[in-house]
Amino acid sequence: MNASVTVQPARRAGGARARRLASSPALRLSGRRLLSAIPVLWGVTFLTFLTLNALPGDAASALLGINATPAEIRAFSIKLHLNEPLWVRYGHWLGGVVHGNLGSSLASPQTVASVLEQRLPVTLELVAYALVITFVVSIPLAVLCAHRPRGLTDRLCMVLSMCGISIAPYVLGLLLVLFFAVDIPIFPAIGYQSIGAGIAGNLKDLTLPAIVVALPLAAFYTRFLRADLLEQMQSEDYIVTARAKGLGPWRVLTQHALRNSFIGLLTVIGLNLATLIGSTVIVEQIFSLPGIGYELLQAISNRDVPVVEGIVLVFGAVVVLANLATDLLYGVLDPRIRHVRSRS
């Protein structure tokens, strides 16, 4: 036997790691992704610009109202530079963006940037809160279901989750408002309190909206995770190995199967993100939250093109960044992707 082999110390040196990271495929991947994101973002904003300007109706008439005379509308249009041709306007805007200037709102004296600054945090907090609820609910639930498939908990979960993905968010929102705010006044129906004014109030205000956003997501993720876990438990060899070691079913589920499920879950989350953003529009409307979604509705009806463009840009950037984060997280979760070098 190898009595003469010396034991190598484990190599956890930070230096080696840092070196690896610098030339890592991860960074190169990020760079490539960001680069390819630019044409996508451009396409998105261009498409929006085209749409908004191609459709009948313009900001001037929208803002001045029905009773404005044509002369007033014309004057206002000139003031808003709306008389210039499409390309010129887009060019102006694009040039501004490249320099970090998103322009000014047509409907109010604010800059687009300041509008975003006010509204974005609200939506972000809502989304974050909803995601927390989603994961806290769906992951344990999926594990519970997968532990005893076709048992009572499992069947109940499947029924409830099926309803969860079938229910319309506006219906859910209204029902929640009905129960909680009217019949059992715990959570307020409308209104929003910023964090500055008190975090407890802030969270209370966001709870119902966050639940409305979270419920269909949680239902879907629960079903997805459950199916993934069950598939692993029934057909993967490493699960059999784990059981052959003498491990109990919970350990096998959580330590072996769940780890591998996260990778699939990540894909699903990445695909979901764009719709998540969209869902905030309805929710903010119902609960009167001063977020980006609410602002979007206003801006569209006002034909406030710069604001809409700004919001669209933000949405697009979020989607791109989310995809990037997803790809990077794959590397973290799946060691096979991490190691590009060949097996020894």
Binding site: A3, A10, R11, D237, K245, R336, R343
Partner: protein, 362 residues
């Protein structure tokens, strides 16, 4: 056929005379191997029936075998013969749809009908299993070392550092080079042969008395196969672990096993010590298996005699001998009466009305 047997020089039942193997034996927590003739694992009249959507499948129909300390038993059969199902039954790893009856005794204790909780204490600790596909047997998202320490800490009261040391020791024992470094690596960073070594290390983590190797080398290339088999035998001689090797490869059994059981359609059809089996095969099925093996003595471009037909559908217990439809020497009584497995000669069992070699009908 004698040429098939390698001169293995049968290992002494009492091992552990060198300091090395003693250290290793204690590394896996076993006392030094000593001569012990009582069977560790005694399977008697084992039946496994699957209850599925389309009816029942009689996967195993009354098999018996036993194995003692330090012994090597080979269970040979083609796919669907019930060999893996038997192994899983011993481990208690069959799904709920499987009904197990009969007796499986480990050191005298009955395992059939025990609760999952009891079986878990025994799985991995007393009997361990190595599976066929090293690529798929290890969790791809978990480090190799962690998978070993997990097996260790499952049954043994060791803390993290002790488990770590033991894992490295196990890696060294299965001849993985640079074990300290390998400990932190992931399965995909290891070659197939090395992964199988890791799987063996996991199996041996708690010093089991019986190791079941289910087609453990089938997925490996021939050179690696030989290395792994040699490793298994060396480990066995040093730790006294009983080895049950399950395979479809008679050649492998010939080279490494002491006793051989041939299974067909869920039943044992022949059983003999390795040395005697190949000298005088009795069961036509075994003969057919032997004939179908490619051998160096054969003329080039000669057609291998293969056994025509397919194994029977196990959703119905066949009338008569299960091999009858394919047997070259089949007679009328073969189709009507199932032959019983009996010890027709000392140490030699077969289930055939018209076995080869004797010529005379029973």
């Amino acid at each position: 056929m004698a040429g098939l047997l390698r001169d293995r020089g049968r290992r002494p039942a009492a091992a552990g005379t060198t300091a090395d193997s003693a250290a290793l034996a204690s590394a896996v927590g076993l006392p030094e191997a000593r001569t012990d003739s009582s069977p560790l694992l005694d399977v008697s009249d084992l039946h496994v029936t699957f209850h599925g959507r389309r009816g029942r499948v009689y996967a195993v129909q009354g098999i018996s075998f036993s194995i003692g300390r330090g012994q090597t038993l080979a269970i040979i059969g083609e796919s669907g013969s019930g060999k893996t199902v038997s192994a899983l039954a011993v481990m208690g790893l069959l799904p709920d749809s499987a009904h197990v009856s009969g007796s499986i005794r480990f050191k005298g204790e009955q395992l059939v009908g025990r609760s999952e909780h009891d079986l878990r204490a025994y799985r991995g600790r007393n009997v361990a299993m190595v599976f066929q596909n090293p690529e798929r047997s290890l969790n791809p998202t978990m480090r190799v070392g962690t998978q070993i320490t997990e097996a260790v800490r499952c049954h043994l009261p060791l803390d993290r550092e002790q488990a770590h040391e033991r894992a490295v020791e196990l890696l060294r024992m299965v001849r993985v080079p640079a074990p300290e470094r390998r400990f932190h690596e992931y399965p995909h960073q290891l070659s197939g042969g090395m992964r199988q070594r890791v799987v063996i290390a996991i199996a041996l983590a708690c010093g089991p008395d019986v190791l079941i190797a289910d087609e453990a080398t089938t997925a490996l290339d021939v050179t690696t196969q030989a290395q792994i088999m040699d490793l298994l035998l060396d480990l066995q001689s040093q730790t006294g672990t009983a080895l049950v090797m399950i395979s479809h490869d008679l050649g492998l059994a010939a080279a490494y096993a002491e006793d051989i059981i041939v299974m067909y359609a869920g039943q044992v059809v022949e059983r003999a010590p390795a040395g005697e089996l190949f000298g005088s095969v009795r069961m036509p099925y075994t003969q057919a298996l032997l004939d179908a093996m490619p051998r160096i003595e054969l003329e080039p471009h000669v057609l291998l005699p293969v056994v025509g037909g397919r194994p029977p559908d196990l959703s119905a217990i066949p009338l008569g001998c299960p091999f009858a439809p394919r047997c070259p020497g089949v007679q009328q009584d073969c189709r009507e009466q199932p032959p019983r497995l009996a010890e027709h000669e000392p140490g030699r069992w077969w289930a055939c009305w018209h076995p080869c070699g004797t010529g005379a009908p029973r």
